[in-house]
Amino acid sequence: MTEQISTVAKYRRFSPWRVLALATNALVELARQKVFYVLLIFALILIGSSVLMARFAFQQEFQILKDVSLGAMSLFTSILAIVATARLIPQDLEDRTLYTILAKPVPRYEYILGKLFGALLLLAISIAVMAALFAAILYLREQSVLDQTWRQMRSGPPGQVDDALSTIRASGLNSDIFVGVTVIFLKASLLAALTLFISTFATTNIFTVVVMVVVYFIAHLQPVAREYWLQQAHAGWISRGFLALVALIFPDLQAFNLVDDIVAGVAIPMAIFTKTLLLGIFYIVIYTMAAIFVFYGKEL
């Protein structure tokens, strides 16, 4: 009896260790599904584009390398976030692992948090590897161009050499790129949270993926719907009602499309970056809460 009371006393309503165990398990499961092959495709795209870009001048080469790499990072992390997260709950249901886990003193919200953190860990690892690969290639190319230019111009006036070298450095690797990588991660995390929410009531992972692809495109058009809804007072009530639903239900994914401007050399102000970060976290929290709420009502 005393032992039973002490076990109950030891049991915590929320344990970060249980969430961590679930997250690690989800990550291992996803790794076994060979999702990291995406990284191989990314590496091939980088190599392919560097071969293609050999014909261009260094400014063009760096510009295209940055555009293609960050664009590919954004595309692959979005796909990974949707496809990997969509299968987490259905897979556990199919394997009956879910029943084993929930038969233990694991609250359902910890299960959902564990799955989400597992997906986020996967995304973090993938994006870190992609960013490291991209930074290494860009840095090596920049050093090679710098070295080549210095050898060609070393006998020239020092002012001209400095001008040429600083032009190359300005086109190469800079810290703003990492701001872009952070925003890509945030967007992918938001997609993962939204996918997890949909998968709590979806019956198959195919359904979740299809719904998420549709959501992805609608969410990019959400700001257009929002502004039209709020500014066009003369529109019919059916149109306004539909636009209001789109504006209220879907996240504004355009807010996370800062990469196109970052590669163009636009410095993102810290205030905008912070607000984007907070908005992203807000979306993730809300969709995760909704996922937990729906999952609590799910009959298992």
């Binding site: 960050l70 499309n257 800062l258 401007d261 163009a264 050399g265 993102i268 905008i272 809300i286």
Partner: protein, 252 residues
């Protein structure tokens, strides 16, 4: 069913809460010219349905690169109409990349204009000259719009200055744009010199050019380059500068 309705209610409630934050962030994006893509029918017609969807989905930069590569391929085939069409799309998609404006202007004002002037299919010289001047104007237009979108970028001012110098033979305007380039952050040191050189070619502006070039000369050895010395000597002769104030002759 009740739970589904409650979930919908939560999401709608959250939607109302997020609305001001989203609008404020979108406004800040507009203020800073971020995601400065004018989503209208003209752009949709320019880039096509698939391109428009790709641009909306956050792949604007990648799409612009693909079109840029296509434009370079069209240039190799000397299809000038296609080059212009593709560069209009590229610059519409990525207006904050000075490189694209600069390349578009260079292809039009230098390459296409030269091709128009040497067009064997056009026997009338007057029409060849007309076509050439039209390409100069298109190049100038690209640079002016590029500057409007990137007002702190020295490269576009420099290119516009070169266009005035090499194609319009307008040294006053060339000097003005080299000076504007020199005022931009991160401008190369030669912009100031080039502004002075161009001014020295302008009739009636010799005293100002002399002051500008002499100031650069007095900055030290790094500025005393052969062209600067040559232009200063020309101006000293033209303006009858007293021998005591003239720069020394270079030791041969």
């Amino acid at each position: 069913m009740t739970r589904a309705l409650i979930t919908l209610g939560i999401i709608l409630g959250f939607g109302i809460l997020k609305l001001p934050a989203e609008r404020s962030l979108a406004q800040e994006h507009r203020d800073w010219h971020l995601a400065d893509l004018d989503l209208n029918l003209t752009l949709r017609e320019k880039i096509g349905q698939v391109g428009f969807v790709a641009a909306l989905s956050g792949f604007r930069a990648m799409l612009a690169d693909i079109l840029f590569i296509q434009a370079e391929a069209a240039w190799e085939r000397t299809e000038w109409g296609r080059v212009l069409f593709l560069f209009r799309q590229v610059t519409a998609l990525q207006p904050h990349v000075p490189l694209f404006w600069d390349m578009a202007a260079w292809h039009m004002a230098w390459n296409a204009s030269a091709a128009a002037m040497n067009n064997p299919k056009q026997p009338r010289q007057a029409l060849r000259i007309k076509a050439q001047r039209e390409y100069f104007t298109i190049g100038k237009d690209f640079l002016e719009r590029g500057i409007k979108n990137n007002p702190r970028n020295p490269k576009l001012y420099e290119s516009l200055a070169m266009l005035y110098r090499d194609k319009y033979n307008d040294h006053a305007r060339a000097s003005e744009f080299f000076r504007k380039a020199a005022d931009c952050p991160g401008a190369p040191s030669y912009d100031k010199r080039f502004s002075g050189y161009e001014l020295s070619y302008c009739e009636g502006w010799e005293p100002q050019a002399y002051i500008q070039l002499r100031r650069l000369y007095d900055e030290g050895e790094q500025e005393r380059l052969p062209t600067l010395i040559k232009r200063l000597k020309y101006l000293e002769t033209k303006l009858n500068i007293p021998p005591s104030q003239r720069i020394p002759d270079q030791v041969k």
